[in-house]
């Protein structure tokens, strides 16, 4: 039995829900703002020749508005978002929000926020899923299905204790020299790391192809990862969207921002109301089954505006979560003065796990050795004049790296998404406060990481560890959690709303807790699991 399904949003969750629904024989309409990625520039050029061959290299690497320059005093970030990824964060006219204690990022791009991800694919373990109404075994087939669709490289190693191994892993990417030395250093002192520091190091799993995969090409190490892979070796959801577009059962409606939905007297959703980006006109699209996959914050906004439109009530959705991230730069003293090779993979190739007494509180880190990243964000932070700092950075370039530590989060009442009036317009309003024990947890992890790096011959320059603001990791979740008890503003294990019988959430909204991992791989797997459940014949009547 074929059912029409309307999906809002083309991010990681939306496209994998849609593709599963299409494979099951259902018709899918996807409503999306859908800003498009520009065509890649000189797609066969490697990083070094790109700088030589571009007519205006500053325009490409820094942007026409110089938005790629990290100027002094700007939150001490070590990376600026490259101008080539501006389309990911471009907002439609009139878009706005208010936030307290949270610096959110929104995406209206085809493929959503994962168009700018670094490809980390980390399955949730049974420990991670303790608060979920299902276990790893229920999700495992979907992880395999995602790996089959997108291509994930990885190996079984010491990090497997934090990340269950699934079938379908491709051979790992080639290590750069610096990463290989760090990994060898860990392997030589493995016993000390594990016993004294509770620290485990291994290969990260990444959605970047090491071998040809379907009609996609493998990574050829052009060194351009940071500016957007021109070969599509690094997976992004727009690739799956393109596959959906080839299916006759798929209708894509771009240029529409869904603002709210309408409900009937039985709280069934009857239509979504969207504003056209072309002419600002309003459009009403009838729906049978609505799947919100616009991302946790935007899906929350759609529901909140819908409730307000129907009842005048301003609801509050507690439980917003995000991974706190701490960036810890380091210098490998053994590599100072040595040259680096630009023709290597630029994102993380090795990762680390810091074990905790409560396994849900383990800390996950991704270790990136710096190669073709722009250096001015780091150089300006050295405590010298720029000439001296540049000399030091030049000598140390091949010795530099950054560990991005991720910390878990839990649903707490005070962290919420609601609406607030601003200039006569109701906008999404976000409130967030970190837990009281956060400084102690972060401090302990950074101390252990410093000790681990020291054993590998690396130092962390004093004062350069940087706690990113909440919201920066873009791992938002928790506003409509899956629960066993049928409470308001929750969903069942299949992501079906307990408030609106023909509404599903396929994005991070439904996560009841957030482990210290990039959630994107699990978003895709969970969307597949939910699609099977939502579109199962037993679920087709309501």
């Amino acid at each position: 039995m074929s059912m029409p399904v309307t999906v809002v949003g083309s991010g990681a969750s939306g496209v994998h829900f849609a593709r599963t629904a299409l494979a099951l024989g259902h018709r899918v309409t996807m409503v999306d703002v859908g800003h498009q990625r520009p065509a890649p520039v000189l797609p066969d050029a490697d990083f070094s020749s790109l700088r030589e061959r571009l007519e205006n290299p500053a325009g490409y690497f820094l942007g026409a508005g110089y938005q790629g320059v990290v100027t002094p005093g700007h939150d001490r970030e070590y990376y600026g978002f490259p101008p080539g990824k501006d389309y990911v964060f471009r907002a439609p006219p009139g878009f706005g929000f208010s936030a307290s204690g949270f610096a959110p990022l929104f995406s209206f791009a085809r493929g959503g926020l994962a168009e700018a991800w670094t490809g980390g694919c980390y399955p949730f373990s049974d420990d991670d899923l303790q608060d979920f109404p299902f276990d790893h075994a229920a999700l495992a087939p979907s992880y395999v299905e995602v790996a089959r669709r997108i291509g994930v490289t990885g190996v079984t190693d010491d990090l497997s204790r934090f990340m269950p191994v699934h079938d379908g892993l491709l051979p790992p990417l080639a290590l750069d020299e610096h990463s290989a030395e760090l990994l060898e250093g860990y392997q030589r002192q493995r016993r000390y790391f594990q016993r004294d520091l509770g620290c485990y190091i291994g290969r990260t799993r990444v959605a970047t192809l090491s071998i040809p995969f379907g009609d996609r090409q493998e990574c050829t190490y052009l060194g351009r990862c940071l500016w957007g892979c021109p070969r599509e070796a690094l997976y992004t959801p727009s690739i799956t969207l393109r596959e959906c577009l080839a299916d006759p059962g798929f209708t894509y409606l771009p240029g529409l921002e869904v603002r709210h939905f309408r409900v009937d007297s039985e709280r069934r959703v009857t239509a979504v109301v969207a504003v056209s980006l072309d002419d600002g006109s309003w459009r009403e699209i009838p729906v049978e089954r609505l799947v919100l996959a616009a991302g946790t914050l935007q899906s929350a906004g759609i529901v909140l505006r819908s409730v307000h439109a129907a009842t005048g009530e301003v609801a509050r959705l507690p439980g917003l979560m995000d991974n706190r991230q701490v960036l810890v730069p380091f210098v490998n003293l053994r590599r100072v003065g040595r040259r680096y090779r630009a023709d290597r993979y630029q994102y993380h190739l090795i990762g680390l796990g810091l074990a905790a007494e409560d396994p849900r509180a383990h800390v996950h880190g991704q270790l990136t050795t710096l190669k073709t990243a722009l250096m001015h964000p780091i150089i300006q932070q050295l405590p010298f004049d720029l000439r001296t700092s540049l000399g030091i950075a030049r000598a140390a370039h091949g010795a530099l790296g950054v560990v991005n530590l991720n910390f878990h989060d839990t649903r707490r009442e005070q962290n919420a998404v609601t609406l607030a009036e601003e200039g006569g317009v109701l906008r999404v309003a976000i409130e967030y406060a970190p837990p009281a024990d956060e400084p102690a947890r972060l401090g302990d992890a950074v101390r252990r990481l410093r000790a681990a790096l020291w054993r590998l011959g690396c130092i962390v320059p004093p004062g350069m560890a940087h706690m990113r603001p909440m919201g920066a990791s873009v791992h938002y979740a928790g506003t409509f959690p899956m629960t066993r008890d049928p409470l308001p503003w929750t969903t069942d294990a299949g992501g079906r709303s307990r408030d609106f019988p023909n509404l599903w959430f396929a994005d991070g909204s439904t996560f009841p807790s957030l482990p210290a991992k990039n959630l994107t791989f699990t978003l895709m797997a969970n969307a597949i699991r939910m699609a099977h459940q939502a579109l199962h014949p037993s679920s087709l009547s309501y």
């Binding site: 070094s48 700088r51 030589e52 290299p57 500053a58 490409y60 690497f61 820094l62 026409a64 508005g65 110089y66 790629g68 320059v69 990290v70 100027t71 002094p72 005093g73 100072v336 003065g337 040595r338 040259r339 680096y340 722009l374 250096m375 001015h376 150089i379 300006q380 405590p383 010298f384 004049d385 720029l386 000439r387 001296t388 540049l390 000399g391 030091i392 030049r394 000598a395 370039h397 091949g398």
Partner: protein, 142 residues
């Protein structure tokens, strides 16, 4: 500032950072950045004095930069220098020279030590040149 003044400033600052003169493409980018970026103008007498000294030549620029790193890290001089550094690191012919070591490991350590000593000297001069102005500006503001 007039275009010619900016080009001269760019040339001096480029010599300070890279040891080479500015090529026209870099001067053009530097001027374009001034048209779109905020915070490139001095906010007080201390920052104006820093810029005035920095523009006189690469050696003076190093002294002003060393002092600014400590006393005005977010001020106009550092903003200008960091923007220029960002332009240089993506612009041939500077890019390749700026991001790889030039000699062996031992030589690089020696270079870094010498550079560090140069910084200490520049900072000491900076204290003499700029601290009185800074104190006077603070007294006037107080």
């Amino acid at each position: 500032m007039m275009a010619g003044g900016l080009a001269k400033e760019c040339d001096v600052f480029t010599r300070h950072i890279s040891g080479r003169p500015a090529i026209p493409q870099v001067s053009d980018q530097y001027a374009a950045a001034h048209r779109v970026l905020e915070s490139m103008e001095p906010r007080d007498g201390h920052e104006r004095w820093l810029l005035r000294v920095a523009r006189t030549g690469p050696a003076a620029c190093r002294v002003a930069d060393a002092w600014a790193r400590l006393a005005a890290p977010h001020g106009a001089l550092r903003q200008k220098l960091v923007v220029l550094l960002a332009i240089l690191e993506v612009s041939p012919p500077y890019a390749a020279e700026l991001d790889q070591p030039r000699g062996g490991r031992g030589l690089e350590w020696v270079r870094m030590a010498a550079s560090g000593l140069g910084f200490v000297g520049a900072l000491a001069l900076g204290v003499v040149l700029f601290l009185p102005v800074r104190l006077a500006a603070g007294r006037r503001a107080g």
